[in-house]
Each structure stands twice: as structure tokens, then as C-alpha cells.
């Protein structure tokens, strides 16, 4: 029961108007943004020649035909374990990154971060930097403010639209789908997907921003459990900074104040609106923009950089006791990161090996159960099998199917007849598909009631390769 006057559990969003900043980490973020966005928007348009029987899109998730193409790799539904393996690698990769460099994913590569960053640049371009934005936010609604808002939202919406729009090109031939999309002949699901993703991009990137990280995303919670005292986090070195005081105060009272001049630049540039000087917190996505801001100020006032810096908790303790700062790279190599890397790399290696060794020609055989056997007029016994040949190459293949492990077997298919029976049958399997053969097999009546053998398929072309499948012959 809610008591009257009980404190509300709802916290209203505080506006965040991050100030522009330049520096090493900002440039790193620019570079990563350029690369990730280029990958996202560019990938569907890459072409890859697979011959006349397969799509020429380099990366294509063809749900309708149940194929996944990624450059020279084609994955069939039964090979979905490769995708599962990739997902496991992505998961362990996040563990690895987290234990080595903390929340680097959050700070640099997460789509929420990248698009929010992009939106904030648009915002600065239209509304001006932090102070202008603050002023505009407080200003009453006027024609000018409305115009600015409409321009800003239009640009956001345009970005959101090309973001949502690009997504669907991963699932169909991009140039064709684009034509269909604009001519109104694309599948309804394409329009719905674009609509939903446009809306989510617009809302999450434009308005919800850091609230997604702080309230919605499970990853910060998982990461707080994964970080340890040896993980890199953005640290305010309070033993060096405190007690805070302006330059003037410090000059007036030498020795009394630390390096932090309380200029608040670290707070002003923070995209999630936190104060890093309060210590590690869930709102910190470790984007390191405060490091850039602080380093700039330290340079201006002639003090050493790194008052705010990437630092592990262990090193912070050591530094507090007087040890010199440890180079960042040295903190990366430790048993936990090496173990994660070993697991990650061995899964990747195993998948690469499996990819290299996988056969692109499969056989499966199912024996007719009704009737199990048929006695022919000359007394021989006939069994029938439904044999499926799976050609995973993007070209038709001539194959030969034979029975191994039994002697005297005669085979023919429903396309042939007993007069044409031989020790093997030949078939052409169309490109990238499964051919179904009904194979009749005869053996003399004398013999065991059950006899195990194998159907073997062999490609009759230069590449060769094949597969076999155990089967059984039964007699009365």
C-alpha cells in the first residue's frame, strides 16, 4: 500500500548536453564510428561472385531459401552450429574485452553509443554546443526554437530511416530490394521492419540515450559482475586531485590543494551526464571523453596529464601508495584475459578447421519399411531405399552412388530398370539443392536375415569428395 507522502520511485530524466571535446579518445571514437557505420551500411552492397546458381551478395541471410552466405562461406540450416559458434565467440569476446579493457564495448562499439554519438553531433551542429543547448532547452517555445527542433528531428529521422532501411538489405538482394522498396512492391515485412527500426533508432538515439544504458540494458549489470580489480576502468585519481580548488586558491595556499581545479569539464563532456570524480558507477560507459577533457585542461595549466585516466583498481591502490603509473598495455596480459583469449581463439580455430574440412556433398538413406523386402520372380530379394543427396556447391554435380560392404549387389533407380542395374547408379544433383533418389537393390536370396552395408556417394568431377551412410539389407 502506497503511503501518502511516500517518496516517488520515479526519477525524471535530467537533461544531458555534452560539450564537444577533442583528444586521443575522441578521435578513436570518430574512427570506430566511421568503421562500424561503414560496415553496417556498406556490407549489404558488397558483391561476391558465386556463379550462376547462387546470389552474388557477399553477406546475405536468405531466410526464404534457408541459406546464409558470408563471402566464400555458405551455411545450410543443418550447419547452424557455425552461427551458434559465432554467437558463442561473440559472447566470449565480450568477456575477453570486458576483463581486459572494461566496458570498451559500451564506450566505443555498442550501436546505442555509436548512434547516440552521431545524434549528439547532429544536435551540436544545429543547436550549438552545450551552453547554447542548455539555453535553448530552457527557452520558451518560439518559432525559432520550433524551427530548430523540427530541423533536428528531421535529420534524426532521416538517419533513423537509413538505419532501419539498411537492416533489411541483409535479408535479400540489396539492389533488387531497394527497387522494390521504393516502388512499393517489397514484402510487407520489409516495410514493417524498416518502420520499427526507424522508430526505435529515433527514440533510443534521440531521446532515451543514456537511459537505455542505465535502465534498460542488461549488459552493464553483467559487466559489473565481470569487472574485477584488474580491469581497466576510467578512474579519477582522487589522491592526486583532492582537495579540489581553483587555480587562484591553489596559488594563494600552495600545498593545500590537489591537481583538480574543479573546472567541471569532465562532467560537461560526459555523454551520460555523470561525475566521474564520484568513483566508478553504472552510468559510466568508459567512453574516456572525460580523459580527453581533463588532459586538455592539465596541459593548459601546466600539470601532468592523466588526472582522469584508464587505470585498474589494483594499480590505483599502488599509485596511491606512491608507485609510478603502470603502462596500460601491461595490464592487458594476465591469466584471465589469456584464458578468455585461449577459449575464444580455440573455438574460432575449431570452426575454421571444420569449415575447411567440411564436405559439400552429403548422403542419407532411408530403407523402405513397407514392404521391407520383395521377392522377385527369379528368387532374388529386393530392398528399396529413399536416398537423399545434398549438393551444397553452387553448381550441378555428377555423382555416383554405390553400395559398399556387400558383394553382388545390383542397384538401379526408379528412373532406370532392373535391366540397366549395375554396381552403382549415377545421378545429377542440381546446384545447391537436395536430390531424392529411389534406389532398388537386389541380393541373392541366400544370406543372413539382416546385412549391414553402406551407401557411398562420390562426386565425379575434379574436386571429387563424397560421403557415406550406413544402411541395412533385409531378407525374409
Amino acid at each position: 500500500m502506497l503511503m501518502a507522502g511516500a517518496p516517488s520511485l520515479y526519477e525524471k530524466r535530467k537533461g544531458v548536453y555534452p560539450k564537444a571535446v577533442d583528444g586521443f579518445y575522441r578521435r578513436l571514437k570518430w574512427a570506430i564510428m566511421a568503421v562500424t557505420l561503414a560496415i553496417y551500411w556498406g556490407t549489404p552492397w558488397l558483391r561476391w561472385d558465386r556463379g550462376p546458381y547462387a546470389p552474388d551478395q557477399a553477406v546475405l541471410i536468405d531466410l526464404a531459401h534457408r541459406r546464409f552466405y558470408m563471402f566464400s562461406i555458405e551455411i545450410w540450416p543443418h550447419e547452424f552450429y557455425y552461427v551458434a559458434g559465432l554467437l558463442i565467440m561473440a559472447g566470449i569476446g565480450l568477456f575477453l574485452v570486458t576483463s581486459a579493457v572494461g566496458r570498451a564495448w559500451c564506450g566505443y562499439a555498442c550501436p546505442q553509443t555509436v548512434w547516440t554519438d552521431l545524434y549528439q553531433h547532429v544536435e551540436r551542429f544545429i543547436d550549438g554546443d552545450r551552453n547554447a543547448q542548455l539555453k535553448l532547452a530552457k527557452a520558451p517555445w518560439s518559432a525559432g526554437k520550433l524551427a530548430r527542433r523540427l530541423v533536428k528531428w528531421s535529420v534524426w529521422l532521416a538517419i533513423a530511416f537509413i538505419t532501419g532501411g539498411a537492416w533489411i538489405f541483409y535479408f535479400a538482394d540489396a539492389p533488387t530490394l531497394q527497387q522494390q522498396f521504393w516502388s512499393g512492391t517489397a514484402a510487407p515485412v520489409a516495410y514493417a521492419t524498416v518502420g520499427v527500426l526507424t522508430a526505435t533508432t529515433f527514440i533510443l538515439g534521440g531521446f532515451m540515450r543514456e537511459q537505455v544504458c542505465i535502465y534498460m540494458c542488461p549488459w552493464p549489470r553483467i559487466q559489473t559482475a565481470m569487472l574485477d580489480e584488474k580491469s581497466l576502468v576510467v578512474t579519477y585519481k582522487e589522491w592526486r586531485g583532492e582537495k579540489r580548488g581553483s587555480l587562484k586558491k591553489a596559488e594563494a595556499h600552495p600545498g593545500e590543494f590537489g591537481d583538480c581545479i574543479d573546472c567541471n569539464q569532465c562532467v560537461a563532456v560526459c555523454p551520460t551526464g555523470i561525475d566521474i570524480r564520484e568513483g566508478p558507477q553504472i552510468g559510466c560507459i568508459t567512453c574516456a571523453l572525460c580523459i580527453d577533457a581533463c588532459d586538455k585542461v592539465m596541459a593548459q595549466i601546466g600539470r601532468p596529464r592523466g588526472l582522469i585516466d584508464y587505470c585498474t583498481q589494483d594499480d590505483a591502490e599502488a599509485e596511491k601508495k606512491g608507485a609510478p603509473p603502470k603502462p596500460v598495455l601491461k595490464t592487458l596480459l594476465r591469466p584471465r584475459t589469456i584464458a578468455y583469449f585461449a577459449i575464444w581463439a580455440s573455438i574460432g580455430g575449431a570452426m575454421l578447421f571444420a569449415l575447411g574440412a567440411r564436405t559439400r556433398l552429403d548422403i542419407s538413406a532411408q530403407q523402405d519399411r513397407n514392404p521391407i523386402f520383395v521377392r522377385l520372380s527369379d528368387g532374388t530379394i529386393r530392398n528399396a531405399y529413399t536416398v537423399k543427396l545434398r549438393n551444397m556447391e553452387a553448381r550441378p554435380r555428377e555423382v555416383e552412388v554405390s553400395a559398399t560392404g556387400i558383394t553382388g549387389a545390383k542397384l538401379w533407380t526408379d528412373a532406370g530398370s532392373r535391366e540397366t542395374a549395375g554396381t552403382s547408379v549415377r545421378a545429377t544433383v542440381p546446384a545447391d539443392s537436395v536430390a531424392k533418389l529411389r534406389i532398388f537393390l537386389t541380393l541373392p536370396a541366400a544370406g543372413p536375415a539382416r546385412q549391414d552395408f553402406a551407401f557411398a556417394v562420390r562426386a565425379i568431377d575434379r574436386e571429387g569428395g563424397g560421403d557415406s551412410e550406413p544402411a541395412r539389407f533385409e531378407r525374409p
Binding site: 501518502a4 514392404p371 521377392r375 522377385l376 520372380s377 526408379d414 528412373a415 532392373r418
Partner: protein, 310 residues
Amino acid sequence: MADEKRIDAATGTEIKHHEWDGIQELDTPLPRWWLWTFYATILFAIGYTIAYPAWPMIDRATSGLLGWSSRGALDREMAARDKQIAPVRQAIATTPIEALPGRPQLMQAAVEGGRAAFRVHCVQCHGSGAAGSKGYPNLNDDDWLWGGDLAAIEKTITDGVRNPGHAATRQSLMPAFGKDQLLTAEQVDQVVAHVRVISGQDKPGAASQAGAKVFADNCAVCHGPAGKGMRELGAPNLTDAIWLYGGDTDTIRETVWNSRHGVMPRWDDKLDKATIRMLAAYVHSLGGGEATRVETAAAAGKEVMGDAGQ
């Protein structure tokens, strides 16, 4: 019980009068939207039971204003399906059966249609796998009483075997040699011994040598001098490994003594041409189907049109 309303100070909501161990309950009203949704569902339910079959009466339920029924829905779906496959059935009905193998797609459609029709009309005697049983031929093997090419199978299905009162039916009559005293019991035993020899089950002996003479006089006219059978008369090949009723001495004697007259109904009065043709294609596809042959003596045994892919 006090009649005056008691209002909870914190929420301004009325408190109900009951109390358990000092715990009281607020009488919070239902949200408006919830109530209106509830009323709307009641209205919908009333309309629904009027529009659709719902209320149980003495012998049946009300039929509903829209006249919908699940049986009717099924009929419509079946009719739509029939309409969809009508062109294929039409094509099958107008294509001579000998020409089917030359049109692989049509042949495949015929085989699949025949598979479905077989499950309905044929499994009662021939079994679900078409393997037959005693007296009912196995359709998977390569032994055919009346012929195993597409046209012969279609003819057998169309007109049946020994269908009473149908002139075109497959017809033949093996005499009951023992029962009707056409042969003596000793002669019957001798001819049985001979049949056992020509089918490779026994070695020749005195009885079988005598039986050979009896066979030549009485049986060869239908079964052929070597006992290889004659398809025009549905006379089985007695030298192969397949026996419709059984190849042991007692069963053969019973067959010779009483004769056998297996019956299969004609189907042309029950099924349409396309269905019969599909059934023939399916039976032909089971593994024993023979290539179409020319019926003239000069070209007998020579293939004119092979199976698909041959």
C-alpha cells in the same frame, strides 16, 4: 457491523468492513477501461453466438445467421483444392498412359495422386505397402498375371478381374481338375510333382515324369508347355519364385484340385479416368513395372518406349 463509510486516510479509498487479524482491505474500484473492455466482450459474445452456431437445442445447435459450419468450411477447402489440381487431372486424363513417362512432371504428379488414391481404394486387399497377401498379388514384384506395363495395369484396374456381369473384364477359368474329376487323384499328385520340379523346388522323379505328360495334356494350353504362364489368360508362371497362394506341395495340390478364381472389382464405374490412370502409374512405379511393349508377334518383347530416363 457499522454502516458508515470508512475512508482510508492515505489513499482516500473506502475500506471494506471485513477484517482478518487486523488486516483490512481497500475497496478500490475497477479501472474504467477494464470495465468497458469487459462489457464489450459480453456484447461481442452475444453477437458471436447469434452469428455462429452456438446454442445447444434438443437435437442440434442453433445454426447461426452466417450459416457457417465446420463441415461446410472443409467442403469449400476441398473444392478449392480440387479446382487447383483440376488442370493436372485433366492433363492426366487426356494423355495416353504410354505417353506419361515421356512427361516426367506429369508422371510424378500421377504417381503421387495414385499413391493417395491407393490408400483409399486398394489397401483393403493389396495392403498399405502394396505387398499383398495370400491370394492378393504383391504389386511390388516383377511377376504380373495380366501384364505389368502401364497400359496392362490400367486395363486391369479399369475392368477388374473376373468381375461378374462385365464383358470387358479380365476373364479366365481354371478347371477344378480334382473336384470335377477331370484328373484322378494320382494324376493330380503327378502333376503337382512336375510343377514342383519346374519351379526348381524338387528334383525330378518317377511321379514328376508322369506328371509332365499330364501337364502337357491338361495344363500347357494355358500355362504354356514350359509352364511359363500366359498373360492373355492370366495364367501364372509356374517356374518362378513367386506364388500367389503358396508353392508347397499341399497348396499346389489344393489349387489343382479346386482351382482358384481370384476376383478384383472393375473400377471404371467408381473412379474417373484420371484416378485410374494415376493408380496405374503408382502401381507401375513400385519397382516391378515393365516397359511398354508392342503387342504384335513380330515385335513382341521389343521395347518401343522405355521408362523415363531409360
